[in-house]
């Protein structure tokens, strides 16, 4: 393998990944582990026990001050006024025309302090968007905190038990957050995740990251890469920005109407309301192939629409994915013919999520 100097950004755990034999890839200008020993093995470790992911490439924006709520309510699609201190909330960031700029988790750290987690590829653009709209407000501070945090996701049926064992107090419940000392390391523990399993996401200082990682790995958390992260999220139909979400389509089309509260008058609310009222022309559906083959992002669907995410499901052992299709076809049980690089492959529209615990 060549070793030319890299201009890619590296997380605090880079050396750990290399030492563990990870295959490193360029992901949104970060050099990240795509897999250690195999995507399937890591996927099954998360479904069956506990996996640990370095997701430090994700960005953080802190919004604080007396007008923090006012700014976030304008930017985020969800009703931020309903977010309690130590709560977590999912939303999308829309343009005026309803196109999706990003999808985000926001944690309320304190009465006037919020931390929003961005996708790596959108972080700089999100930050600009936040700052541009903060300009007219006197009493709000928007801070880039991407360098301040290392973010780990510990996920799987044993994840809480493993993290709890080194925590100074009980872990926050699902969709809540709290500061804990994990083996003495101050950590923001969030009851969130992207795998469909129980677990936590951990934010700590980069200087503490190696110690925390090593401790959790020693206690049985299996290092898992971005490859498994993608197959896990797709089995449970979580959106991936750049695949299933983009500026070309709105949140209603994407099935994210539940996190859009147009009455808050967030940027894009009018466009979102118009689509909600008239009904979208296309909808994001989940599908599984009937036979062999794997549909991939960009594969066209006969009669209109396209695949936005596709992989082989390690748990279901068939090709699965998500696709935008004309609304008339967005009905469970509908047959789809997908053009997979020149071969027509038959698929069926399925209920979301594609994978359920115990199924």
């Amino acid at each position: 393998m060549s070793s030319e100097p890299s201009t890619l950004r590296r997380t605090a755990l880079f050396d750990r990944h290399v030492a563990a034999g990870a295959k490193m890839v360029d992901f949104a200008s970060w050099e990240m582990p795509v897999q250690y020993h195999g995507v399937r093995e890591e996927h099954m470790a998360v479904r069956g026990a506990c996996g640990i992911f370095d997701v430090s490439h994700m960005g953080e924006i802190e919004t604080s001050g007396p007008q923090a709520l006012e700014l976030l309510q304008r930017l985020l699609s969800n009703d931020v006024s309903k977010l309690p201190v130590c709560g977590a909330q999912y939303s999308v960031l829309c343009r005026e025309d309803g196109g999706v700029l990003d999808d985000l988790f926001t944690y309320r750290l304190d009465v006037e302090r919020y931390l929003t987690v961005t996708n790596a590829s959108n972080h700089v653009q999100d930050l600009d968007w936040f700052r541009k709209h903060a300009d007219g407000l006197a009493d709000v501070t928007v801070e880039d905190q991407i360098g301040s945090w290392t973010m780990l996701a510990v996920q799987g049926p044993l994840a809480r038990e493993i993290v709890q064992a080194i925590s100074d107090s009980p872990l926050p419940e699902r969709m809540t957050i709290g500061t804990r000392r994990l083996g003495g390391i101050e950590t923001l523990v969030c009851g969130t995740g992207y795998t469909g399993e129980d677990g936590v996401e951990l934010l700590c200082k980069p200087d503490d990251a190696v110690e925390l990682w090593d401790d959790l790995v020693r206690r049985g958390a299996v290092p898992a890469g971005l490859g498994a992260r993608d197959t896990l999220r797709l089995e449970v139909c979580f959106h991936l920005y750049g695949n299933d979400l983009s500026l070309e389509r709105g949140p209603i089309e994407a099935g994210l109407g539940w996190c859009c509260k147009e009455d808050t008058q967030f940027i894009g609310a009018q466009a979102v309301r118009a689509v909600r009222d008239s009904g979208p022309s296309e909808k994001l559906i989940a599908f599984a192939l009937d036979g062999p083959g794997i549909a991939r992002q960009g594969n066209p669907i006969a009669g209109g629409g396209e695949v936005t995410s596709g992989t082989l499901s390690p748990c279901l052992e068939v090709g699965i994915g998500m696709a935008y299709v004309p609304s008339a076809k967005a009905v469970t049980g509908t047959r789809l013919d997908i053009d997979v690089r020149g071969k027509m492959r038959s698929a069926v529209v399925k209920d979301k999520p594609l994978y359920r615990k115990g199924s």
Binding site: V39, R40, G227, P292, T311, R341
Partner: protein
């Protein structure tokens, strides 16, 4: 196969394919380097017998969980046999890339094309760069 290996009795193409030539026939597959870069192969849809291969052009695909990879023909010819067993067990391509993980057998249309392929030492040197 965990360790890199490039048998001396094969010829190699820069796109990480190998050929085992016997008279005017050859068995083709992908190299250890190719299968390692791809990761666990989860799908292989064998091409059909009779398909014409053109040297340096893609003739089939192998897929890992993450990606689809084109397989390039190291030599020109016509497919006379395909490894149907890989349909059921595509990971054989990872486990035994030069043995049970072979992809196709071809009748060569121009056996002199072999002169353009690399021996194991030359191919290995290209990987070191």
């Amino acid at each position: 196969m965990a360790q890199a290996s490039y048998p001396d009795d094969l010829l190699y193409h820069a796109e990480h394919d190998w050929a085992r030539i016997e008279d005017d026939h050859a068995t083709l597959g992908i190299t250890w380097y190719a299968q390692d870069a791809l990761g666990e192969v989860v799908f292989f849809d064998p091409p059909t017998v009779g398909t014409i291969l053109t040297k340096d052009a893609s003739y089939t695909e192998v897929e890992s969980v993450k990606a689809v990879s084109d397989v390039v023909a190291p030599l020109s010819g016509e497919i006379v046999e395909v490894n149907d067993a890989l349909g059921e067990n595509p990971a054989t391509i990872n486990e035994d890339p030069y043995g049970d993980g072979w992809l196709v057998k071809v009748r060569l249309s121009d056996p002199s094309e072999r002169d353009a392929l690399m021996d194991a030492a030359t191919y290995k040197a290209t990987l070191a760069g």
